[in-house]
């Protein structure tokens, strides 16, 4: 259960289960779509939060991911393309007693909604954003997105894309993000774990899910996520643990000068002491940025909570300003307002 510092969200008096959040709507994603696993993780996490089910709110934009609100039984808005972060901001500011969750995709938040995405992050409004990154536009049937790897052949790039893709983690940290976590859709345990961590975090939390689109970008994350190689090509970061990975946990990440480096324990005199220890609460984003940027084949891709730095949230500060103004202002009612300043009587 979560214990937030300020403006607590009301607790449920009864223990909730996954069933409390199942909606009666038929889930219409393609069979094999990664979204099914994300939905299941969300439904697993919601009862664990300990909040009243009426205090959870789901917001989305447009795209395959954005059908999400219909599939969980909470209050919800299915918005318009790219604007989910702006809608969520309004929801959270207007009612800070809600646990606000947003489902979005790489097109919705990194292309058409890029502006709202970065400014929401910059303000650190307490919203949990699940970013379904399948590196393709699915709902419009297979055009490249801002995260599609350069050179990919898609319907709108028959000769391969000539755009440099975003790394969402880099974008989030560049926008002064306070929380960034990543998981493949094939690791439900890790997804549930980082969603819970995101909910605990006061501020905008970005949860990037490396999602597979079976129809238009099948196996797009395969090099990193396939069973065969995943232990060598992913590193699951956990706060306070040394950054070790590999089937035998014999590889690690160390800082060599100003750059990260993959080392093998026992080779070239390297020991576990040379390996970095993860501190997700570190305020300085420098190392978190380097970790978020690690990519195959030179590095393992970082999974888990990469950054969870503590900063004041916009929504808390709004409440503080209002509380202060109510205590100090002479204008307590509209009648006070109307009669404030220069007024005069005409008889």
């Amino acid at each position: 259960m979560i214990n937030k510092q300020n403006y607590t969200i009301e607790r449920s008096s009864v223990e909730l289960t996954k069933e409390d959040f199942v909606s009666d709507q038929m889930v219409k994603w393609c069979p094999g779509c990664g979204s099914h696993a994300i939905l299941s993780s969300v439904a697993n996490v919601f009862p664990k939060l300990g909040y009243r089910k009426e205090n959870i709110m789901m917001v989305s934009g447009i795209g395959c991911s954005s059908r999400f609100p219909y599939y969980v039984n909470t209050y919800g808005i299915h918005g318009i393309h790219g604007r989910a972060a702006a809608i969520s901001s309004g929801v959270k500011i207007a009612n800070p007693h809600l646990s606000v969750w947003m489902a979005t995709g790489d097109g919705d938040s990194l292309a058409i909604g890029g502006n709202h995405f970065i400014h929401t992050i910059r303000r650190n409004i307490d919203i949990n954003i699940v970013l379904f990154n399948n590196q393709i536009y699915g709902l419009t049937k297979g055009q490249y997105s801002p995260t599609t790897p350069m050179g990919s052949v898609t319907k709108t790039s028959p000769q391969g894309t000539i755009e440099h893709p975003f790394n969402p983690g880099e974008l989030v940290l560049g926008a002064q993000g306070t929380f960034f976590a990543r998981s493949p859709d094939s690791n439900p345990r890790l997804m549930t774990e980082i969603m819970f961590e995101a909910a605990k975090h006061d501020g905008t939390s970005i949860i990037e899910i490396l999602e597979n689109c079976v129809i238009f970008a099948d196996r797009t994350h395969d090099a990193v996520t396939n069973k065969e190689n995943r232990d060598d090509r992913q590193i699951i970061l956990r706060n306070g643990d040394p950054m070790l990975f590999g089937k035998n946990k014999d590889k690690g990440i160390r800082l060599n000068g100003t750059r990260l480096e993959v080392i093998t324990i026992g080779q070239n005199g390297m020991t576990e002491d040379d390996v970095l220890v993860h501190d997700m609460y570190e305020q300085d984003p420098g190392l978190h940025l380097m970790l978020a940027k690690m990519s195959y084949p030179h590095f393992p891709v970082a999974m888990g909570v990469i950054r969870a730095a503590i900063y004041p949230t916009y929504d808390d500060m709004v409440e503080e300003q209002i509380t202060y103004a109510k205590q100090t202002s002479k204008i307590r009612s509209v009648d006070d307002l109307l009669n404030s300043g220069d007024t005069w009587e005409i008889n």
């Binding site: 205090n55 919800g76 808005i77 318009i80 809608i87 901001s89 209002i322 009587e345």
Partner: protein, 626 residues
Amino acid sequence: MPLKINFLKIMLKTNSNVIQREAVVVKFVGDSGDGMQLTGTLFSDTAALAGLDLATFPDYPAEIRAPHNTIAGVSGFQVHVGAKKIETTGDLCDVLVAMNPASLKSNLKWAKPGATIIVDQDSFEEASYKKAGYTVNPLEDGSLSSYNLVKAPITSFTRGVLKEKGIDNKTADKSKNMFALGIMYHLFGWSFKGTYEFFDKKFKNKPTVIESNKTVLEAGYSYADTVEALASVYQVGKAAIPPGRYRNITGNVATAWGFLAAAERSGRPIFLGSYPITPATEILIELAKYKSLGAKVFQAEDEIAGICSAIGASYTGSLALTTTSGPGLSLKSEAIGLAVMTELPLVIVDVQRGGPSTGLPTKSEQSDLYQALFGRNGECPAVVVAASTSANCFYFAYMAAKIAMEHMTPVILLTDGYLGNGSQLFRIPKAADLPAIHPPLAKPNDPDYQPYRRDPETLVRKWALPGTEGLRHRIGGLEKEDGIGNISTDPLNHQKMVDLRDAKVQKVADYIPLQEVAGEKEGDLLVVSWGGTLGAVQEAVEIMQAKGEKVSHAHFSYIMPLPKNTAEVLSGFKKILVCELNSGQFVNYLKMKHHGYNYMQYNKVQGLPFTVNELTQVLTQIQEEK
């Protein structure tokens, strides 16, 4: 100090040439840095304290500080004061106060024939009058001989009186405008009291500034008096204003306050999501001041985030607002569609300016009416309401909020730059006297609750707020099944929902006032206007009526839906002349809704308001043609 004022007042009374006037229009013009807005404001406040009715309009450039002494940098403030009800800010001015050559050059066309023109003669140096586009000094070449020209040494006298107090010229020049104001107070025989109080409050911790402003103000007054610079002085009696407590208010402030009142009366918290844009920004600035009334004001990253955050806030139960001008309304179009589809209350304020595109940001027009009515994809009806005076922006903001919440619909409130920046006397209401607002909140655990179950009378759905037990539901931009609210692509359901959304908005007509007609219900000519042109059209019609012409006036404030008796009103007249500051948007809307009448139109798209004079000429011509 008070002794001196009394003394001056006595001196004033000895002045033999006193002109009695029912109303006077004064325009203060100068360089952007000359403080004309403040001068005009202080002048109006003093007029109000003297018991006159008034209307003001600031006329400032889009640039913050355009190059010194250029036409582009001229800033103006027009004030219309009177012993009668003041409906407009006045066509042409009786008194023009010009602080530099550029301001004289660009504003002489707004002076009445024979007007009093007060200039700072010190500013008419060769370099500056040439910069303004004059080849010879206009004060010396006889070109102003038909005016009552007062060449006042404003800069040198101001520097002179302040030099005695050890103040340097550069600092002294900042008080030049007070010298001009002093001359005006002499011209009208008004007291310094209100202005002194302003100085005392504004510069509380700067006694030198207070003293120098007072000194210069008095110096201007004494100058006018002792050198008998003015051929005559005005005497404007007190206006017959209904008794009550009054204040001066601009349309944008009145709009903000109307919303605060609606929030308080409805018991709903207030949320504004907005992005700065001329000339609407003052509403955002104003609401940001009132956190003590719980106002949550979110300055968004763009216009779209402004409205989308408001939609989010509306879903949670706030009186949700977004404020903008024409270009911003374009950006908000898609989101207004979302509010129509989700049937959430939302007020969108469009303080109209000259368009299209960036257009004339600091000028006024009524050219966003089509956009408000039709500027969205799909069949997308929203309520459209228009304020008609700076002061009644308060009332129409209140009514827009009331309609939005009670009818669960977006409402577009149209004002304009002229109303928004202009000011008027405002009779202060009591919040308790404003009409009650009853938002249709769903009750916890209501077994019958469905997102799109409607009140059979109003067709309004319930507002079910997150956090309420037993009402969890999802809404969104996809078409929904009537009642239950699940996604539906059923053809007949879509037809039904399109019809229901339209019928719901049309039903608002049952809850708004009937259209009034000023004058006879039948006659030769009905003059129709809407929005911010009320004052000028009303005054022109009154002039015609006084001449015995069978001319009546219908001014529309409720545009969509139109009042229920609109056809009845139109049917009483042989001709219907629709006057508006666009190319004919309302007349075409009327033709569409109520065809078969003899419509005529008078339009102007110059970024300027109608003058009473031009309208009177148009009406006279039409009456002569009959």
